[in-house]
């Protein structure tokens, strides 16, 4: 419960920041940044939040289900236009994935510096 209370407090704090800026990333992004900063400087200990964080992140997809159900419902009502929308999104999202992944792997030759041996497939989980 302590873990969830801390995460909720940072979510609320992030929303407080977002509400006071004329144009701002969402409150949850501010909450993420604030908690990361608090963990880095030691104001919040990793042990206070890690179990709750891992539980929530393990079920992250579940929290999107109502949004996906609504999306399917709207698509179902769109008829032929749904196919066009899906086609555009499938192509553009796949292109975005490839472009971001390719550059992140060093495709543009940006900054080859990396932690040797880390982050490769095959480390298992």
């Amino acid at each position: 419960m302590r873990d969830l209370a801390i995460l909720l407090a940072f979510a609320a704090g992030g929303q407080w920041v977002a509400d006071r800026l004329p144009w701002s990333p969402p409150g949850t992004v501010w909450g993420l940044v604030l908690l990361a900063a608090a963990l880095k400087v030691g104001w919040v200990r990793m042990g206070w939040v890690e179990q709750g964080a891992e539980f929530l992140l393990g079920w992250l997809s579940l929290f999107f289900i109502p949004l996906v159900v609504n999306g399917i419902d709207v698509l179902g009502a769109m008829g032929w236009r749904a196919i066009e929308l899906l086609a555009i999104l499938a192509v553009s999202t796949t292109l975005g994935l490839i472009a971001a992944g390719w550059v992140a792997e060093g495709g543009l030759g940006v900054s080859p510096r990396r932690a040797a041996g880390e982050g490769e497939l095959g480390h298992g989980r």
């Binding site: 995460l7 940072f10 979510a11 929303q15 990333p25 969402p26 409150g27 949850t28 992004v29 993420l32 940044v33 908690l35 963990l39 880095k40 709750g52 964080a53 891992e54 929530l56 992140l57 992250l60 997809s61 929290f63 999107f64 289900i65 109502p66 949004l67 996906v68 159900v69 609504n70 999306g71 399917i72 419902d73 709207v74 698509l75 179902g76 929308l85 555009i88 999104l89 499938a90 192509v91 553009s92 999202t93 796949t94 292109l95 975005g96 994935l97 472009a99 971001a100 992944g101 390719w102 550059v103 992140a104 543009l108 940006v110 900054s111 990396r114 932690a115 982050g119 490769e120 497939l121």
Partner: protein
């Protein structure tokens, strides 16, 4: 049929079952399968989707602390991510640019000229994308659906699809998923590996800001 708690129980139960069935080529399909089954259940029982959304409000509410929780893997894997900082920033900018403008160009190319206003920010996380859609003069309802579908498409292509395309590094896969398919892509990345989830969470946050900056020049061109 079921009351509000019944819908919550059915949603959680179906999702747990779907996750157990996610093996091999079905990996990543649990979310779509659960949502599809629930949509059929809503139709069969004549339950309006808005009532279902209201019943599931306590579940959706947990998205906020879960997003904040991404700070934990972010801090844990910070040395790995910081070592690739320049590359990550470049990847997020390029990925956001390609995803946004390819959707807009395809809309115009397919003879749907007004749709670009809705699709330009489709890769951004929903709380960033929806105000942008409104500012661009697009459809809020379609914009919400587009961001969800974008997340689903990215999560279904997933790390396996990226690996087939030659992108095998876990951090690079996480950056790709977070940049191009925001929250749902990040959820998929987290299930694969913590460092992939950390990279995706950071990419999701930064790409939202990058896409907002990309959209700003078009905000006044609504005429």
């Amino acid at each position: 049929m079921a009351g509000e708690l019944g819908w919550v129980a059915l949603t959680v139960g179906l999702y747990v079952l779907a996750r157990r069935g996610e093996r091999g080529r079905l990996r990543g399909w649990g979310l779509v399968a659960t949502a599809g089954a629930l949509w059929v259940a809503l139709r069969l029982t004549g339950t309006p989707p808005v009532r279902y959304s209201q019943a599931l409000a306590p579940v959706t509410f947990l998205l906020a602390p879960a997003t904040v929780a991404l700070a934990v893997p972010l801090v844990r894997h910070w040395p790995l991510l910081a070592a690739r900082g320049r590359r990550m920033v470049a990847a997020i900018a390029v990925g956001g640019l390609v995803s946004s403008f390819s959707a807009a160009l395809l809309s115009v190319g397919l003879g749907l000229p007004g749709l670009w206003r809705t699709l330009l920010p489709h890769s951004a996380t929903t709380p960033i994308a929806l105000p942008l859609v409104a500012a661009l003069g697009g459809s809020a309802e379609l914009g919400a659906v587009a961001t969800v579908l974008t997340g689903l498409i990215g999560s279904l292509v997933g790390p396996a699809g990226l690996a087939r395309l030659g992108i095998r590094d876990r951090v690079a896969q996480g950056v790709a998923l977070g940049t191009a398919s925001s929250g749902i892509g990040t959820a998929r990345a987290w299930r694969e590996a913590p460092e992939m989830g950390a990279a995706a969470g950071l990419a999701m946050a930064l790409s939202g800001v990058a896409i907002a900056l990309l959209c700003l020049p078009f905000v006044n061109g609504r005429g």
